[in-house]
Symmetry: C2
Subunit: 199 residues, 2 copies
């Protein structure tokens, strides 16, 4: 024991956060205890609520505490007949910010990575295939990251849809190769969407 | 709303932590939701517990959920008749780690800073004065930080104890062990020279 049990426990558990080591966990703990207990209480409550109640949208797999996320729940978003496939919820946000897409999404929550045990089922491709059969969309826009893994995942999905009557496109490489989608500015993303090519 | 309400709320409240901005709050949220909900639940509970149950030691003011912290509660720690005055609980830990002190502490939880509204009462000096009258210690070791504010606070406490029958000392300033002389700033070097001891 370094401090009192409850203080030690808070310093220890804060280190589950990415980028937080013992030193910054200690600084966070003292700052909350000394200056902002109300904020600390709110954060504790927000964590408990999110960890127990946030699940995945039953259609697109993004995070939501509802059965359907707001985008899947909106009938207007189904009109374009387009489905944009992304790796993460942060990518959905980035594309929404670009203002260039009015369809729905499918969120892989990752990319194909056989060495990490992430095969087609783990990133929901069985679900995506069923969705395509059910919704009969006109176009699938593959907006996985412009990385080796993201490209391979897009290629795999394109192959998977070869026999479906659907246009499959890949966002243009206006996005810098090797970068991560969520860090790309809106203009570049908009260009990469309008410049998409058929696969 | 960027994501779902509970996700947005978690991203927002995480930013009460020092050094956490919108981007890293988002990364933390997704990492917990995707990979470690059990750790997230534990952290939420640890926050709630600490914020509501951790108070201050009634004798030395450090953080504890008990009436007395373990050091103040140990009668052995009272034997030396020494009280070490520090600015924060982290300083208590640092001095404990040095293994050179077996007395008790008094934790100011800050330093004198009139511009921020931190006067003698706010850093507990009324309590320290009462403690000195009550415990009649032999020595008060002033281990506030070697900064302008820490030095001023030490000076103020020394003045305050002028009429008490008590030895008041200040920790030595000097060159840190293991450091290289050429990287030590001039002020520290000057202090280490004026404070030199005969061998
Ligand atoms: Zn959805
Ligand atoms: Zn104490």
């Amino acid at each position: 024991m370094k401090f009192s049990p409850l203080v030690d426990e808070l310093i220890k558990t804060l280190q589950c956060l990415p980028g937080v080591g013992p030193r910054s966990a200690q600084r966070m703990t003292f700052q909350l205890l000394e200056r902002d207990r109300v904020a600390g209480q709110k954060l504790g409550q927000a964590l408990s609520n999110a960890m127990s109640d946030v699940g995945h949208c039953s259609r697109c797999r993004t995070f939501t505490e509802q059965e359907l996320c707001p985008i899947c729940a909106s009938s207007r978003r189904g009109e374009s007949g387009q489905i944009c496939v992304v790796e993460s919820p942060a990518d959905v946000l980035a594309i929404e910010t670009s203002g260039q897409f009015s369809g729905r999404y499918f969120v892989l929550m990752g990319h194909l990575s056989p060495l990490d045990g992430l095969g087609p089922d783990e990133i929901g491709l069985d679900k995506l295939a069923a969705l395509i059969r059910e919704e009969q969309p006109q176009e699938l826009i593959l907006a996985t990251n412009p990385t080796v893994e993201g490209d391979a995942t897009a290629q795999y999905i394109a192959e998977m849809c070869r026999d479906d009557n659907i246009r499959v496109s890949r966002i243009a490489h206006g996005v810098p190769v090797g970068g991560e989608l969520e860090y790309v500015d809106g203009t570049t993303l908009a260009l990469s969407l309008t410049g998409r090519r058929e696969l």
